[in-house]
């Protein structure tokens, strides 16, 4: 039985400007503690992407994550995938996690379609035997015919997307993590994509989807959370959470823009902008 438990999870991203490098560390060491350590710490710029997230997801949950750009949706997915680890708090996951953020991890343009099925399949955690068993299904879905034996360099963008998608959705996920934007292609393909994603979700025990689009969440999820500035501010039925999101957007339009997050002072922001301009 798959389950996910997050307890007071924080994620802080250190910002390394072009000037924060080996040279600076060396010089700091050379000056020998004249600059106090505490002072140095407080100057370190971090961006808090998630703040005190506590969440429990159980078998059968199809959870949608809603929020603005930068609300922490992708960071949360990446924490669940085990790519980032929380700077504070704990995450307990039971069951295998299959992240599908990029449809073709490890794709090599010089390899043929068949070779890439193996490489991507291995990266997605399939065994050789599973890959061999799934290959006919992937071939059928990608509809590439003879092209399967050619280097993928010769494919059109649409063909490449179809192949990547076919491989990625062939897995048998325990916990499935989806980022929106997965799956594209021509109109005829779009319908098949939807069916295939639905089948994939059906095979999974838990599905978590991050999306902007309300309709996607409403169709595909049975639970939703709303993230704002890295905090979970609503959790419940997709309909209610979407309504809350719409309300929040109306308020935001009426009210002046919110102040920057507490961890980034105005001075830090100036430094950041300066570093970005230099870099």
């Amino acid at each position: 039985m798959a389950s996910i438990k997050l307890e007071h999870v924080y994620a802080d991203f250190p910002v390394y400007g072009s000037q924060v490098s080996f040279r600076k560390v060396l010089f700091n060491k050379a000056i020998g503690g004249l600059l106090s350590r505490a002072d140095d710490r407080s100057k370190r710029v971090t961006v808090r992407a998630l703040s005190d997230v506590t969440l429990e997801v159980n078998h059968g949950d199809q959870l949608g994550i809603i929020g603005h750009n930068g609300a922490g949706k992708s960071t949360l997915l990446r924490l669940l995938a085990g790519i980032y680890e929380p700077s504070q708090g704990s995450i307990t996951i039971e069951g295998g996690v299959s992240p599908l953020f990029n449809t073709s991890p490890g794709l090599d343009l010089d390899d043929t379609g068949y070779e890439n099925i193996v490489t991507c399949g291995l990266f997605l955690g399939m065994s050789r035997a599973e890959i061999a068993a799934k290959t006919p299904d992937i071939e059928a879905f990608a509809e590439l015919g003879e092209y399967m034996s050619l280097p993928v360099r010769t494919y059109s963008t649409g063909m490449l997307v179809r192949l990547g998608f076919a491989i990625a959705t062939a897995i048998d996920p325990g916990i499935l993590l989806l980022d929106e934007g997965l799956g594209a292609g021509d109109a005829r393909f779009a319908n098949r994509v939807r069916k295939r994603i639905e089948a994939l979700i059906g095979r999974s025990s838990i599905m978590i989807l991050a999306a902007h689009s309300d309709s996607m969440i409403e169709q595909m999820c049975n639970r939703a959370i709303l993230l704002n500035h890295g905090k979970v501010i609503a959790d419940g039925k997709p309909k209610d959470v979407i309504a809350r999101y719409a309300e929040m957007n109306r308020e935001a339009e009426a009210a002046p823009p919110p102040p920057p997050a507490e961890d980034v002072s105005a001075k830090d922001l100036e430094d950041l902008v300066g570093a970005a301009a230099k870099g």
Partner: protein, 264 residues
């Protein structure tokens, strides 16, 4: 940050066991060099061969040495040195070259490190062609001590893995280090006995040989290739380097492994 030895060791064990994956990643790079070229990875071999032969002929004259003794010495030293120094240079770039993967999936860092080492071991075997030809020219007889090169290679590769892990992490955090590694290696090639023999040094300069771990790393494979057994001192230094290197890497890796994706 507290060290998480369990997580780090799990990464190392899982990465090592997944030989299917690192084998595939390592070969893929080699295969890429074969594509649409006539001689493939042998281009690296060919340019190394030209370097060794030209330099060998000129320098053996310069130092009044018998080319039939100097050429095998230079060749076996260079082959080993090229492999070892590529561990260091490719190791420095290992993690940020794999940024796409690291940020999309949970990958074992050890797996990435082993694939770098494996790829360069394959290149080393390509380069062995030069050694065979030079041996034929010099009439160097094959001897049983050649077999001692196998454990030597194994130990170099074992060191290669920690070097890639360590430098991969250090260079992901401090980008300038990559340039530093390159320039240190450049100088080291000349102060380590590769172009010249250790017995050409007199007096206190002998320290450049005795206490230079790079000399021992090279000699542990070079000596068997020349039909000699590596000295006990060489084995001791390399063993110490393996233990110390892995110890330090394990400490750093278990402390900072979780920060790597944040650094990229």
């Amino acid at each position: 940050m507290t060290p998480e030895y369990g997580v780090a060791i799990a990464d190392i064990v899982n990465g090592t066991r997944n030989w299917d994956m690192w084998g595939r990643l390592g070969w893929r790079e080699v295969k890429r060099r074969y594509r649409r070229t006539v001689v493939g990875p042998f281009w690296t071999t060919l340019s190394l061969a030209i370097f060794v032969v030209v330099l060998g002929v000129v320098w053996s004259r310069l130092w009044n040495q018998d080319p039939k003794a100097y050429l095998p010495y230079l060749t076996s030293g260079m082959l080993t040195w090229v492999m070892f120094s590529t561990f260091c240079t490719e190791g420095s770039a290992a993690f940020f070259a794999a940024e796409g993967l690291i940020k999309q999936l949970r990958v074992s860092y050890t797996l990435l490190a082993i694939s770098v080492v494996w790829r360069n071991l394959i290149v080393f075997f390509h380069n062995l062609a030069i050694y065979v030809l030079i041996c034929l020219y010099a009439g160097l007889p094959a001897s049983w001590s050649l077999l001692l090169a196998v454990p030597g290679l194994a130990v170099i590769c074992l060191n290669g893995v920690w070097i890639v892990l360590f430098l991969g992490m250090a260079c992901a955090r401090y980008r300038d280090l990559q340039q530093l590694v390159t320039s240190i290696l450049q100088v080291s090639m000349f102060i380590t006995p590769i172009f010249w023999a250790p017995d050409q040094l007199k007096g206190r300069a002998v320290m450049l040989v005795d206490y230079n771990p790079l000399f021992h790393i090279v000699d542990i494979v070079r000596a068997p290739m020349l039909g000699k057994a590596p000295s006990t001192w060489t084995w001791a230094v390399v063993a110490a380097m393996t233990v110390a290197g892995w110890g330090a890497t394990l400490y750093v890796f278990s402390r900072f492994r979780r920060r790597i994706p944040y650094w990229l």
